[in-house]
């Protein structure tokens, strides 16, 4: 059969149905007429001839039906008929339809929402050519990993040409740059090696990328613009190449503009050449390394090579940290980080919610199918095959699921946006407030697949059980009393048990996360964060490569700020107390040098910092203005460090040497410990305080000052008497004046910063709580529905029991117990499952164990009480049954 003639037949049969039918009718009728003619010609009477002709032909309608059955496209047409019938059925029961579609829309919507985030973060490929071959370098340590690298390490990686075809370096975040035109503005800028643009396959649409010469020391002041900045600042002018861009009052020559599609890694508006001394032996770790794998080289091969290179590096640089190794991972892995696990857990949790919704809908369908038993019996008595009936029911459930899916798609999108607005997720790759989360074929495909799958999942079981009915008895029974068979009762009970146990697992999960969040909120940070503003300022220029320049600026700025009305205190530093990100090693003067001993977090502060955050000094003294560059070196240590290294004595008065062996620019004389500060959470609220050294900003080595000025902005901190926002304009103005025109950026209150530091936890908690609450409601509705239905079915039985002397309490107990038995079994199963599953979220918990007794007692109690409530209503109705009425109703 040719495809063409088949297609033509299908289209004719389906599209010009009336004509086809009329012709068929004519054709068969003429056949009978002609047969009659023959008989008359043979001498039969006309009426006799017609009768026998008709009898012999076997009935016109039957012949037509036989043709129709064989007709191509019949399958499609039947499907269409079934779908239309299904739609009519659903329209006739609006209450049922709305309940089902709403439950599914909730379930599918929640899944779509989570999946759209999973898609944006985990699934969408990076947008670079050969992105799956780009790897990121890190140094594994026994206790964790470090992603920053040093110049000698960069050199060592560059030599691994057997596994890497290209190696590039870039700043972690960059200090920010001050566009000092008529309207000063801070922009994101990062230093990159010349190979950076080659590796990311990013061509310039105007001009060119950096040359090797420009990337060498003294290669000149050149800059490349992002497409966005070129549009915004230069009105997309094509003759921008060669023009000057003023950064921090220094003039840079624009050599190129990047194409629009290039997604900078990390975020950047401008790029500057690194120009580092490639022969430097400076072991400071201040930038990131990415590499392109040679074609055909796998990650494991590369890592085998990295292991050797790491060992070789330690041999060549005995002063490097002996605990470190070399390793690479795919760049996407680095970006995604540990959000993969939390997202997958959320996806699993939301899948549970959908399963519960499915169970509810299946229960509703089962009840409805029972009511329609007679309809199916009649249909099969009229010759409908079992497959036809199952198909009819499946089509109805798929229709429901698709309607729920479409509604869920919209719902999911709106709710995810709302959620991200309430709680920033702290997730990578989602853009500013989740702007990168969008609709694409993956999300649409996922929702479609989920809808169809749920339609079949909740529809197949009721469909099969409904079609299994015994024709004879179904027809004989009166329609209303065609009751719940034992098998169906069992199926519905199992569904309810399943629902309850899934809900319990979700609720325990959310209870654990809530307790984690509360525990985090209850952690005393160790410092005060009220009425404090944090303001960023990028320090561009040679002047800020020396400690004296930064110290001078800090002094001037603070003098101006402190003179403002409403300002209590001000300070300058590079780190906030909640996250002191840098670490350095040190040696104790007078103690033997021990390999691997002594290191800790390190930060530099201006005087006033500790007072501003109300961090108490336990021993000794705070810094003052007299701890200047020319004064003897001083250092403060925190309590953790003090008790760790001087468990029995007073550390004040001892001397340490910080940052030995990092290189000549980092050499500094011994510092005297002048005080011990109380511990505060310097590595996030969820971590215990780490050992910490604090030095005056005026006494930092020039090497470190230059490194900081080139890699992160200076932070101004201002404590005001009341709400700090009202002083914003005056503060910004004073800082601009003090710095000679530098703009300020990223102004936030310290309270906001604290909120963001637990953004991930609050996001997870909020989501899981919403899921848990939905699960609870759905499970309660499930139990209620089952019991209400069962009471309705058993009205007569209850009437008889009452007539025989059972009182209302007995009846109520009967119903309550029937429902609660299911709920309790579900709770037991759920508790067992939760014991196994909560281990998965152990790493997200803080201050609470995965088997937390409070959660494991309270949640089952809560669920049981809600179940009791859901059972109580039908039980109360059962106990109010009037036996006379119930019996007479038959």
């Amino acid at each position: 059969m040719t495809l063409w003639s088949r297609a033509r037949s299908i289209s004719r049969n389906l599209l010009r149905k009336q004509q086809v039918e009329r012709q068929l009718d004519d054709e068969v009728r003429v056949y009978v007429d002609m047969l009659t003619d023959e008989r008359i010609a043979a001498g039969m009477s006309p009426s006799e001839a017609r009768r026998t002709a008709q009898a012999e032909s076997g009935g016109i309608e039957q012949v037509k039906q036989a043709v129709r059955d064989r007709r191509v496209g019949t399958g499609l047409e039947l499907l269409w008929q079934d779908a239309r019938f299904g739609l009519r059925q659903l329209r006739r029961n609006p209450g049922f339809t709305i309940a089902v579609v709403a439950a599914l829309a909730l379930g599918i919507g929640a899944n779509t929402a989570i999946f759209s985030v999973v898609n944006a973060v985990l699934l969408k490929p990076l947008t670079y050519p050969d992105a799956d071959r780009i790897v990121h370098f890190y140094r594994p340590f026994p206790e964790g990993r470090r992603e920053e690298a040093s110049i000698p390490e960069f050199r060592s990686i560059q030599q691994q040409t057997s596994v890497f075809s290209e190696v590039a370096g870039y700043d972690a975040a960059g200090p920010g740059f001050n566009l000092t035109s008529e309207r000063p503005e801070q922009v994101h800028g990062i230093h990159v090696t010349a190979s950076y643009f080659r590796l990311f396959g990013a061509p310039a649409i105007l001009g060119r990328t950096f040359t090797a010469h420009e990337d060498a020391p003294n290669g000149g002041k050149v800059v490349i613009l992002s497409y966005g900045l070129w549009q915004r600042k230069f009105g997309a002018s094509p003759d921008v190449i060669g023009k000057a861009l003023s950064l921090g009052n220094e003039s840079y020559t624009i050599v190129g503009v990047m194409e629009k599609q290039f997604v900078p890694m990390p975020e950047a508006d401008i790029w500057l050449p690194f120009q580092f001394e490639s022969v430097s032996n400076n072991l400071g770790h201040f930038f990131h390394i990415v590499a392109m794998l040679q074609p055909g080289i796998g990650l494991s091969q590369a890592n085998a090579q990295m292991k050797l290179a790491g060992a070789g590096f330690l041999h060549d640089y005995p002063k490097a940290n002996p605990a470190q190794g070399f390793a690479v991972e795919s760049l996407r892995e680095t970006i995604v980080g540990d959000s993969r696990k939390s997202l997958l857990i959320l996806l699993g949790a939301v899948g549970f919610v959908l399963l519960i919704a499915c169970a509810n809908v299946a229960n509703l369908l089962l009840a409805r199918a029972t009511g329609r038993k007679r309809e199916f019996a009649i249909r099969s008595a009229l010759g409908a095959s079992r497959i036809r009936i199952v198909r009819q029911l499946l089509i109805e459930s798929v229709l429901l699921a698709v309607a729920g899916g479409m509604l869920g798609l919209a719902l999911g999108f709106v709710s995810m946006r709302a959620l991200l607005a309430i709680s920033p997720a702290g997730l990578p790759r989602i853009g500013e407030d989740g702007s990168a989360i969008g609709m694409d074929w993956r999300v649409l495909g996922f929702t479609l697949a989920v809808s169809l799958l749920t339609g079949i999942l909740f529809g197949l079981f009721p469909a099969l059980s409904a079609s299994r009915s015994d024709l004879n008895s179904a027809l004989k029974e009166s329609s209303s009393r065609s009751g719940t068979g034992f098998r169906q009762g069992k199926a519905r009970s199992l569904l309810v048990i399943g629902e309850v146990s899934l809900a319990l697992v979700l609720l325990i999960g959310s209870a654990l996360l809530i307790r984690t969040f509360v525990a985090l909120q209850g952690v005393g940070s160790g410092f005060d964060s009220h009425n404090i503003l944090t303001i960023e300022m990028s320090l561009n220029g040679e002047r800020y490569h020396e400690a004296a320049g930064v110290a001078q600026l800090s002094r001037d700025g603070r003098d101006r700020l402190n003179a403002l009305p409403g300002v209590e205190l001000s300070a300058a530093a590079y780190w906030l107390p909640i996250d002191t990100g840098d670490g350095l090693g040190f040696q104790i003067v007078g103690r033997p040098v021990k390999q691997g001993c002594c290191g800790g977090r390190w930060m530099s502060i201006s005087p006033g910092y500790l007072n501003l955050f109300k961090i108490p000094i336990l021993r000794g003294r705070d810094f003052s203005e007299s701890d200047s560059a020319s004064a003897p070196g001083v250092v403060l240590i925190n309590e953790t460090l003090a008790t760790h290294l001087w468990p029995k004595e007073n550390p004040v008065g001892h001397q340490i040497v910080i940052g030995k062996d990092l290189g000549p620019a980092f050499e500094e004389p011994a510092r005297e410990i002048v005080g011990v500060v109380a511990d505060f959470h310097n590595a996030g609220l969820g971590h215990p305080p780490l050992p910490l050294m604090i030095v005056p900003i005026a006494q930092v080595t020039d090497g470190n000052t230059a490194l900081y000025s080139d890699s992160q902005p200076l932070l101004w901190l201002v404590r005001t008497r009341n709400d700090p926002h009202q002083y914003l304009a005056a503060i910004s103005e004073q800082l601009r004046t003090a710095s000679g025109g530098f703009p300020v950026a990223h102004i936030r209150t310290m309270d906001e910063v604290m909120g963001r530091s637990t953004a991930r936890e609050s996001f997870n908690m909020l989501l899981l709580s919403i899921f848990g609450a939905s699960a609870l409601v759905l499970a309660a509705i499930g139990i209620y529905g089952l019991m209400a239905y069962s009471v309705e079915q058993r009205t007569q039985e209850i009437g008889i029991r009452m007539a025989l002397g059972a009182d209302r309490y007995v009846i109520r107990r009967l119903v309550v117990w029937q429902g609660m038995r299911l709920a309790l079994v579900g709770v037991a199963v759920g508790v067992a499952a939760a014991f196994g599953l909560t281990r998965l979220i152990a790493s997200f918990l803080f201050g609470v164990e995965p088997w937390d007794p409070v959660a494991f007692v309270c949640v089952p109690l809560l669920l049981t009480s809600v179940a009791l409530l859901a059972v109580w209503l039908p039980a109360a109705r059962a106990s109010k049954v009037d036996p006379l009425q119930a019996l007479r109703a038959e």
Partner: protein, 110 residues
Amino acid sequence: MSSKQASLLQGTLDLLVLKALGAGELHGLGISRRIEQVTLGTFLVKPGSLFPALHRMEAAGWLSSFWGESENNRRAKFYRLTRTGKRQLEVETDQWTRVAHAMTSALRAT
């Protein structure tokens, strides 16, 4: 007609219809009568199996149809072989001859 007979007749009926139309265009009753005639009255094809077969073979592109006048002036639907149909007639004739030959010799063997 039981399903067993139908399946037995399936291939045969197609071939008989093709053969009947081999000589020229015919309407439904004409095909019936021609088959009855050429099989010496062995096969009486009823409309219940004739029409589904005709429609199926038309959809397959073996037959084409048109409305015309019958011998006693009734408007009837006529069928004729298409080029594909003629080829199909040859193929099926060949096949049938081979099968018939094989069956005959198989049944003759002792």
